[in-house]
Subunit: 180 residues, 2 copies
DNA sequence: GGACGATACCTCGTGACCGATGTATTACGT
DNA sequence: ACGTAATACATCGGTCACGAGGTATCGTCC
């Protein structure tokens, strides 16, 4: 989940400088109920981003407890965030967890047309005919399954898909200039 | 995603013996549109499970192309599958991808009460009040957000949650003996 | 004064992931 | 005859995740 974590770090820092611990709490609030973030994953990630010049660190002594390392997004970091938002990897579009993370920061893409382009990628993905279960090549519908649990998967996935399609189309319309 | 992959391997082999390549195609059909499985992840996983005595390998020469290694679930493997289904890790409950994988094979738990217990764990998780966005401690609802993208996240998550709760309650009822 | 929890950061080792690459066969089109 | 794709399995190396553990300060309760 490297991409997801790094995106969240860059995204949160776009709003305001934060130290690692606070960052951790915000990330936990955003995605922690689904997939908690270990400290031993977060701190190395911060270091990676720092080494890449995407964020700067300023040590502030004894404000509360241990010295805090306040992290600020550099101009390069800001640009990298925009790039990651505008050109997401395929996995960022298809994996709901990653997609939600992307959506949470998509407002930082200042260009409405670019925002719309990202939404259209998700739209295209959702419009692909895909199931979880197949008979040969043919995707099976919920009604064709005996297994109540597998039927549940399809029922839930269909409800999600429908809600998201509705939202996507409405949002694309309201983005105005976003029609191709 | 180790647990997810291993569960899928054990689950598919519970139905019928398969060779690695066919296993790969089935796993791809099941979860590939969201998160593709690399061959270099699958084969080591098979070896791990084989080394742990959960599956046995039988080489069949030249049936089609290269020699196939037909994999069969051992009795220990069958037991391990049941154990993983009956006692899922927290992440298997909270992460939708992993939860769906679990659901796809839950029928292999022959005990209806055990199946119901697993569903109730998911039910409890979904009933926890959780949002993605907070103002201090208070979870924010979709209506309180300016950001259309964050509003979308909540709208979609709510629709999913509602559909799944409906399904969970209906299925728990129809599992009959499953009331506590 | 001492225990405890929260704050705040860090390192290390095990193990996992996965892209790249390799090997070899069959099948099919041209 | 040759290229290409599908079948089928495997290894290797770089990178990453993360649990376990460590260090240190501050506030609070008993």
């Amino acid at each position: 989940m490297r991409r997801m974590l790094e995106l969240a770090i860059l995204g949160f820092l776009h709003d305001t400088p934060l130290h690692g611990y606070e960052l951790r709490k915000r990330i936990t609030a955003l995605t922690g109920h689904v997939r908690p973030v270990a400290e031993s994953t977060l701190y190395p990630a911060i270091k990676r981003l720092e080494k890449a010049g995407l964020l700067a660190r300023e040590t502030r002594l004894g404000a509360v407890a241990a010295p805090r390392h306040v992290l600020t997004l550099t101009p390069e970091g800001r640009q990298e965030l925009r790039k990651r938002l505008a050109e997401p990897a395929r996995g960022d579009i298809t994996d709901e967890n990653r997609w939600f993370t992307l959506l949470a920061f998509l407002r930082h893409l200042d260009d409405e047309a670019a925002q719309a382009a990202v939404l259209r990628r998700r739209l295209a993905f959702l419009e692909e005919p895909a199931s979880f279960f197949y008979e040969g090549e043919r995707p099976l519908s919920a009604e064709e399954l005996d297994d109540p649990f597998r039927r549940g998967i399809l029922t839930i996935a269909r409800a999600t898909s429908r809600a998201e399609l509705t939202w996507l189309r409405a949002t694309l319309t309201s983005l105005g200039g976003g029609n191709r």
